[in-house]
Symmetry: C2
Subunit: 215 residues, 2 copies
DNA sequence: GTCTATACTGGGATAGAC
DNA sequence: GTCTATCCCAGTATAGAC
């Protein structure tokens, strides 16, 4: 369905060429959205097809099965998130500043790439981490635990357990998004994804977390 | 399938009597477990039947549909959790002690009634809070927000936003359970539900949260 | 590479005997 | 109240034309 003006090597291309690379990427984008909404089991290949404007059969042509498509989506998300963290250059900052920066950029990324995070939650809840475990090396827990250990050594942070504290930190950051659809009925006139509420959550989380770990 | 020695009024009972009340309760218990594992859409009525030792048809006889059964399970969980909070007598304690007590008892309850909490997460993720919103009046957010407001008035807590802070508190408490199946691969030789890890999580969460809210 | 049409299966729900 | 048998739709996956 996707056309571009020139073939891969820029030679002897007709005006309209089918572009397998672009089609693959479009399917991945649509699948990310569908898996975010429904998880692996709940996702409908038909719904993914509808979003991409290619047919269901094409999805099987490119990815063989719903499961393999899911793994591809998950892997891409893991890699992108990991690169996001690498790009922060946290090693060059004192640990307390590194932590605050990580939290803010991580939350900013989570909001912007809205469809990635719910996939991880569905993955834990419905697949019991079966696919997550294949990619755990790219998890962001290592990043946060590293900052916490450094912060204790540098004297910024109190004595704490890096693993459990990392879970508490991520929990403070992301439970807002996990439970969003439940708690929205508790604050009926607010838009939980609007700028005002997001700012309240993010600033509040930074304050809450930094106080929680500081000496 | 359930038998007891005497009928409701203890009169003219044959040796074995079918007990509708007990059967209903057994179905609810089995359904709670199945819905916790798979959510409404993912739950299999056949699986619930297998756990109860009654047939699938009985479930429809008692509850009409999978959806109505789900609502019954959800409502029972909401009521039990709310009663748990009422029983804590938090009003009789200063706000800081009330908060710590709430956290410990809430987490203790969450561990003991293992199947209730995942239902709420599945509810948010797959049903977008559709059924949760019918029961929001029994949510525990009100309890925590009340403690936070009182704590500010009494001078124990810093200036904070009760709603966002309540979300951060619950996040610190429960994300451990939400993401358990993902993070278990990151700590391969630990049992996340064993007493050691649970103590680490709970004590860590209390410390983290109390520092996060105190003046 | 892309489509249409269809085979096959899992699982919610119900009929009807006892 | 409880069972067995079955209807029927939704949804994954594939065959085969173009």
């Amino acid at each position: 369905m996707v056309r571009k003006a020139h073939g891969k090597h820029g030679l002897k291309s007709p005006a309209l060429v089918r572009d397998a690379e672009a089609t693959r990427a479009h399917i991945l984008d649509a699948a990310e959205e569908e898996f975010a909404a429904n998880g692996l089991a709940g996702a409908r290949t038909e719904a993914i097809a509808a979003k991409t404007k290619v047919t269901k059969a094409m999805i099987y042509y490119y990815f063989e099965s719903k499961e393999k498509l899911y793994l591809s989506v998950l892997e891409r998300a893991f890699v992108q998130r990991f690169q996001m963290a690498q790009a922060m250059k946290l090693e060059s900052l004192p640990a307390d500043q590194a932590l605050e920066r990580f939290i803010r950029e991580f939350l900013d990324y989570t909001v912007k790439h809205r469809h990635q995070f719910p996939i991880f939650i569905h993955e834990a809840m419905q697949n019991k981490g079966k696919y997550y475990s294949k990619l755990g090396a790219l998890s962001l827990y290592g990043v946060v635990m590293g900052i916490l250990e450094r912060g204790m050594a540098e004297g910024f942070f109190r004595r704490l357990d890096p693993f459990h504290t990392a879970v508490h930190i991520f929990g403070s950051c992301v439970f807002y998004f996990v439970s969003r659809e439940n708690i929205k009925s508790l604050v009926p006139n607010k838009n939980l994804l609007g700028p005002q509420m997001l700012k309240g959550h993010i600033d509040g989380a930074v304050e809450f977390i930094m106080r929680g770990v500081r000496k």
